[in-house]
């Protein structure tokens, strides 16, 4: 006789709300006339995200649960709640960015330049499917870091990725690139998730369970199965490192970031990264925490490689989105430095807090940067080539100033949020005696500074091209996004304390003693 599983609905409410809204969105697509869809989708999406955020807050105030919920499938603990909060805010902002039909194709199925595409244009069609798709992806992002066993993690990974594959293909301009991005992302994503799955299988074989806690327990008890363990762990690691775009698994990032519609790129660069790092922490700290001695050296190599590759390859990029992609690779490397800084409970909460803070501030800044990218346009669409940005500082100083500010934040100049993010992570690493890694980190961020600075030079110190790109009057959504990001970057750059405290307490709740 079967006992009904025990589900803590309140704890899972944010998840359920987002997924519910996504399903609702699909129904809307199915049953409401085209002209109504946007009017319904946008409120539904935004409200659901806001609601989910509110629920997360409520959950936090009610006290952080200590037991994993849903029969141990989902762990709604401190870090999860912090990450949920972060992702929901970022997602909300991204949706605001999405809210601008300029970005998305009228009819994805139509062949570029074909008659039917023309018609779709003229009819002013828009893909409102974007919203439910985004919601599914966001739902996946929420579940990914919260999942407490590898199966859920795999499912979450797919739920997060599949909609993103589609979204990548929906760019209104430069559709060839967009579709190419979609196909590349899809194939590579599927490939890597296969690795993840096989790793899961091997770990299951090792521990007899996919529950992270059980795997952790098995590390001590099971003997003679190390082959399974290391191979499995490594393959799972591959799947995760692929998602965060760590070298040597970063190849997809520049292509996909460049091809995808910029709002989607923003969503990936911010949301996916946060979610993926949440998952990385779960696997490497919770499940494989006691295995640190075996994976720390490997991770050192990966982190160094990621930082250096990201920084160096970005130098010679001529496409703003590719450059930002490589910069996000470099940042992934910096975050990995934090991941390695694992030790006793105190050290862990220090490192975890640092990573969480870094993720939050980086996500906000990066969305802001991409938002600016959406506003600088040529007749043929957004002006991606750096040479087109020359002299922007003279044509529209405010926008250029904001972008410069975001870049400085990426570079980690003091009095921007980026600085404290880096500082926190590096401090954690030094506390863990990973000082050489930090030295590599600062050197590569010095190299990285070069290409951020290069863009500033272009914008401010070189004279504008005659037929320079136009800076569109931003839609209220975009304006809000840029404003919010800039504000957050400043405020967190001057008074990071509140968010730091949040991150710290979130981390502390997990590592008590």
């Amino acid at each position: 006789m079967i006992t009904a599983p025990k589900i803590e609905y309140l704890q899972l409410a944010p998840l359920l709300l987002v997924f519910g809204a996504a399903v609702l969105g699909v129904l809307v697509e199915a049953f409401t006339p085209r002209y109504l869809r946007r009017a319904i989708q946008i409120p539904v999406t935004l409200l659901s995200l806001a609601g989910a955020f509110a629920l997360t807050i409520v959950q936090t105030l009610k006290g952080v649960p200590t037991e994993p919920s849903a029969m141990g499938a989902v762990a709604v603990d401190g870090p999860t709640l912090f990450i949920w909060g972060t992702i929901l805010v970022l997602a909300f902002v991204c949706v605001l960015l999405v809210n601008d039909e300029e970005h998305f194709v009228a009819a994805a199925s139509a062949v570029p330049g074909s008659a039917e595409e023309e018609r779709a244009f003229i009819e002013g069609n828009v893909h409102t499917e974007v919203y439910p798709l985004a919601l599914f992806a966001i739902g996946g992002m929420l579940l990914f870091p919260a999942s407490n066993d590898l199966l859920i993690m795999f499912v979450a990974l797919e739920v997060m990725s599949l909609p993103l594959y589609l979204l990548c293909g929906l760019a209104r301009r430069r559709r060839l690139l967009s579709q190419e991005a979609a196909v590349k992302y899809f194939l590579l994503g599927a490939f890597s998730s296969a690795f993840f799955l096989y790793g899961t299988a091997l770990l299951y074989g090792f521990a007899g369970s996919v529950d992270l806690a059980k795997i952790a327990a098995a590390l001590g008890s099971v003997a003679g199965q190390n082959g399974l363990l290391y191979l499995g762990a490594a393959l799972v690691g591959v799947g995760l490192l692929f998602k965060i775009g760590a070298a040597p698994f970063q190849a997809w990032k520049p292509d996909v970031y460049q091809g995808a519609p910029t709002p989607v790129t923003a969503l990936m660069a911010a949301g996916t990264l946060v979610a993926a790092f949440g998952a990385v922490l779960r696997v490497f700290w919770v499940a494989l925490g006691n295995l640190i001695w075996s994976w720390e050296p490997v991770m050192w190599a990966v982190a160094i490689l990621t930082m250096v590759v990201g920084a160096i390859l970005a130098i010679t990029q001529t496409d703003i989105k590719r450059m930002l992609a490589y910069s996000s690779v470099a940042h992934a490397g910096f975050l990995l430095v934090g991941v390695i800084a694992i030790g006793d409970a105190k050290q862990n909460s220090l490192a975890l807090g640092a990573i969480l803070f870094y993720l939050a501030v980086y996500g906000v800044t990066t969305i802001g940067a991409f938002a600016v990218v959406t506003m600088v346009r040529d007749p043929g669409g957004e002006a991606w080539h750096l040479s087109r940005w020359a002299g922007l500082g003279k044509r529209s100083p405010k926008l250029a100033g904001l972008f410069a500010f975001f870049l400085l934040a990426f570079a980690g100049i003091p009095l921007t949020s980026g600085f404290f993010g880096k500082y926190a992570v590096f401090q954690a690493a030094v506390a863990d005696h990973a000082t050489p890694l930090v030295v590599v980190g600062v050197i590569s961020s010095a190299i990285a500074a070069f290409f951020y600075v290069r863009v500033i030079v272009l914008m401010f110190f070189s004279d504008p091209a005659a037929d320079g790109p136009t800076v569109v009057v931003p839609s209220w959504g975009t304006a809000a996004v840029v404003g919010f990001s800039a504000l957050a970057t400043v405020v967190l750059g001057v008074f990071p304390q509140p968010v730091l405290d949040l991150a710290k307490s979130a981390a502390g709740s997990l590592f008590v003693g």
Binding site: K394, I413, A424, V430, I443, F450, V457, F461, P496, D501
Partner: protein, 499 residues
Amino acid sequence: MPWLSILMGVSVLGALGVAFIKDDRLAKQATLVVSLVVLALTVAMAVQFSPNGDRFQFAETYDWIPAFGVHYAVAVDGVALVLILLSAVLVPIVVLASWHEAEAGKRSVRTYFALLLVLEAMMIGVFAATDVFLFYVFFEAMLIPMYFMIGSYGGAQRSYAAVKFLLYSLFGGLLMLVAVIALYTVAGKNSFLFTDLLGAIKDPTTQKWLFLGFFIAFAIKAPLWPFHTWLPDAAAQAPAGAAVLLVGVLDKVGTYGMLRFCLELFPEASKWATPVVIALAVIGIVYGAIVAIGQTDIKRLIAYTSISHFGFIAMGVFAMTTNAASGATLYMVNHGFSTGALFLIAGFLIYRRGSQFIDDYGGVQKVAPILAGTFLVAGLSSLSLPGLSPFVSEFLVLTGTFQRYAVPAVIAATGVILAAVYILWMYQRTMNGPTAEAVQGMKDLNHRERWVLIPLIALIIGLGFFPKPMLDVINPAVKETLTNVSVTDPAPAIAKEGQ
């Protein structure tokens, strides 16, 4: 009364205000007023400073980021005070000197002046900070306004120079960041307060590593040979006003940092490193002077003279005698005035002729005697002619160094001869001889330009004969520092009369 916060607040608010003034002329005037107000306040503060009171005065300490043990902690000792005075004096002068600076580039005038004020706030902050982290924040953040001033308003090669300047300094700064973090971690005081960190690092090896982290950053900033090559580019490309602040104040942060942080936080390591540093300093003195002789570009030449001078300062700091250290501190101030004057006059000259190359000049004295005269005075001060302020500091540095390291002091003293060569040769080539036709009809200094120079030259001569007020403020602070490093001045061989 929170003097230091007020000083910074006034300049920041001023900057914000100026940034929104549409009318350029008004913006300039506003900037001038603000900077003068800051100067007045600074003087008012300096008057209330009691040289023999506590080391740190006008202290303010608030928690800023408890999570990192970071405080908003500002206070001044004698050394910081005189350097803040230097900044406060230079800014209004630079404002007045830069009156037409921004227009040349057809760029936003008010931005330039807003940046100036932001920079002033940060200069005050960096000297006043008594929290290592806060110091670091200012140390790095300062780069940005200067970066924009060079990059947007500089000469033909400006963006190359600006990027070189920024990246070079940033690199040093990031190395320092590692050291800062490590310092915090190793000290384990959960506080970045300078006073908490004093003597916190016991282990000599750790000291050495941390010392290196700090020192390299400061050596790049100062700049000390061989980390100097960014300076000639930056100084030559920067607009005269910015160049003054760059060489006059920003670079002093490096030498100031050596004195305040390297020596006091890592005394053992400092002693360990002294021979190398002194060697680098001496090389810098001679090398900078020799390369300066070979320059064809006025501003580059001045930049190289500064490299030579920074050698003196660094030597004075690490000689670790009261005279040398006080001399070095005074040197920072005097060098600010003398080189400042040099750069400004060179700026006026270049503004008239439109060329930085020495060979494009000649016989200026005939057509513009006042310009030439002031240039000569500034030049003589740069070769530290007795009776002008730099002599006092150079003499103190050399005497103090000689007390402990005779040979380096003697080698360094040859810089005195070389200085005469590079300054007088440049003066001869630009000002003397038959008047070049390109120079014919060059206007002499107008009233604005004269008022720019009068205070500087007055200070140079005044402090040349009456350095006591400055030294009275500096000496106690320096003695304090040396006590923390636990060194004592070598006593004279013959104390009393002996026949």
